[in-house]
Amino acid sequence: MSRIPEAFADGPAFVPYLAAGDPSYEASVEYVEALERGGADLVELGLPFSEPIAEGPTIQEAVVRALEGGMTPTRFFEFVEDLDVSVPLVCMTYYNLIYQFGRRETGEPGPEPFVRRAAEVGIDGFVVPDLPAEEAGPLRAACDEHDCDLVFIVAPTTRGERLERIMEQVSGYVYVQARLGVTGARADVSDQTAESLSRLSRWDVPKAVGFGISSGENARDVVAAGADGVIVGSALVDIVAEGVEEDADATTVAERLEATARELKEGALAGENVTGPERT
């Protein structure tokens, strides 16, 4: 069984993202563990793909660093096995890597071997930003077979029939994209969040909001607007990038990540206590 429901069981979840292997395998292991100490309820681990079309510059550069550091799907599975964390883990990657792993294992491309292996090492679910509901049939089937969840992104542009189609397929949580565009930290959190959440009010999966959240205050606002979780990527990847630029040691960077994680988690918790008109 996927452990994802545990992440959302006790109040608002803090869901950080890091690119696995950025900037090196060893440092990255430390960073993920630091996030858990800082209060992560679930971690999204990016498996780097050479053409990350849904990412902004911050994560794109992280992907380049991780690839240069030697991250591959096979190394990724080792990475997950090496992690000493107890929170649920979601693999975030692009479809071609999932699809080609099948060719490697069986001679024919297809998603099942990747999902099987991921489930074995302790991955609970997947986010695949270039795989819309229309194309997700084979991956959905493999996830069902191996008790993994398949998370879908709902964008500000998603409406009508598309919402229904996604609702039928989504499990674990729904990733609510707070604004149009690609990933990247922003100072404010869009009004679109509340509007997007209201469109999903009937959905019975947790709603985690991401794209642009960078501070405890943002996290608080998003939860106050009705989110069940906050997803934070670029703001954390920025800390890793800074460490690379300053040539800081991994322990220092891990401490910074832990502190920022704590601030974000506390922000999310504070959002739960906001009452009155702000809470929708």
Binding site: D130, P132, E135, F152, T157, T158, V182
Partner: protein
Amino acid sequence: MSTGTFGRYGGQYVPEALMPALEELEDAYERYVLENEDGFLDDFEERIRDFGGRPTPLQHAEQLSARYGADVYLKREDLLHGGAHKLNNALGQVLLAKYMGKERIIAETGAGQHGTATAMAAAHLDMPCEVYMGRRDTNRQRPNVFRMRLNGATVTPVDTGRGTLKEAISETMRDWATTVETTHYVIGSVVGPHPFPAMVRDFQSVISREARAQIQEQAGRLPASVVACAGGGSNTMGAFAEFVDDEEVALFAVEAGGSSLQVDEAAGVAPNSASLSTGSEGVLHGARTKLLQDGDGQIVESHSVSSGLDYSGVGPELAYLVDEGRVTPVNVDDDDALAGFHRLSQEEGVIPALETAHAVAWLEDATPEQLGDCVVLTVSGRGDKDLESVIEETAKRDVPNAPEMDVFGGGL
């Protein structure tokens, strides 16, 4: 549930934010392009004639015919406004965007020909236009960068990766994901998510529609073979579309063999762009198609002396037609392409784009059985944009039929 597939290829592999825009585009494509709503096609035909200069001639190439012992005809897309077949698609899509009420045009470009065509079409139809181009390509194709800017477009260099078309496409998709509500992305080839591959093919199929009628009028018959260069495949699909049902016409897609057909997995580089001949099935830039990738599914960088062919993927319909055995993929390396460039220039007085030069060069390799007695070759574009590269690349190697290069001094 997948839509817009060609056998196992095609589909729509894009971020969710773009899916509604693809639905909107599919609807517009069906209404305006397939059903001629509001007289869209009449408007398009008038503009591609008066602004674009269609129809382009089908020229009997006398020296090549003598050389190969077959009647060789050149479909002269180099004479289209802008100097390449790219205007057929760019004008079609910019006009469609206008009919759809979009306010802004974005595009990516490799050789700069698609960017130039889009910038021209956008200026013609009074739409603001931004073109993404790999940094390396901006250096290789300076005349086209200047032409785009002359037409009022913003050219944005892309520094990621090797700075070629693949990176420019990724960057344009990022822009589109941010601005999708007001912006139309004019994809430059028969690649990307549905409906782009079908729609771009339809706009480009004017090439084979004209060529088919012209050859019947001029030669009183269908050709034995059609030869066209393939990067993303828009020239190829345009040249083949109206012949696909004529089983007796052989179709040859000429890819860039670069410097070698081997992939260097460790470096993540393919020293070629021959995805039809050497690639494997995968998912890139919105479609399932044949790709240059490593064993893990990471996309490897392609290479070609010609920036318009320098792409790691290819159109899904072309991949399908190759699997079906209807289209034969062949390739020509950088050295031979340069020889082809000089040959067409000397023998026929037509200076081809380096992309086209690959198709010309393949005539040397082809067997008489493959070519048959009557050949149509599309001159997809003219070579003015490539002169700097040709001077530099010719000086680097021994091209037997090149003019004396010393007079150009120090390689330039």
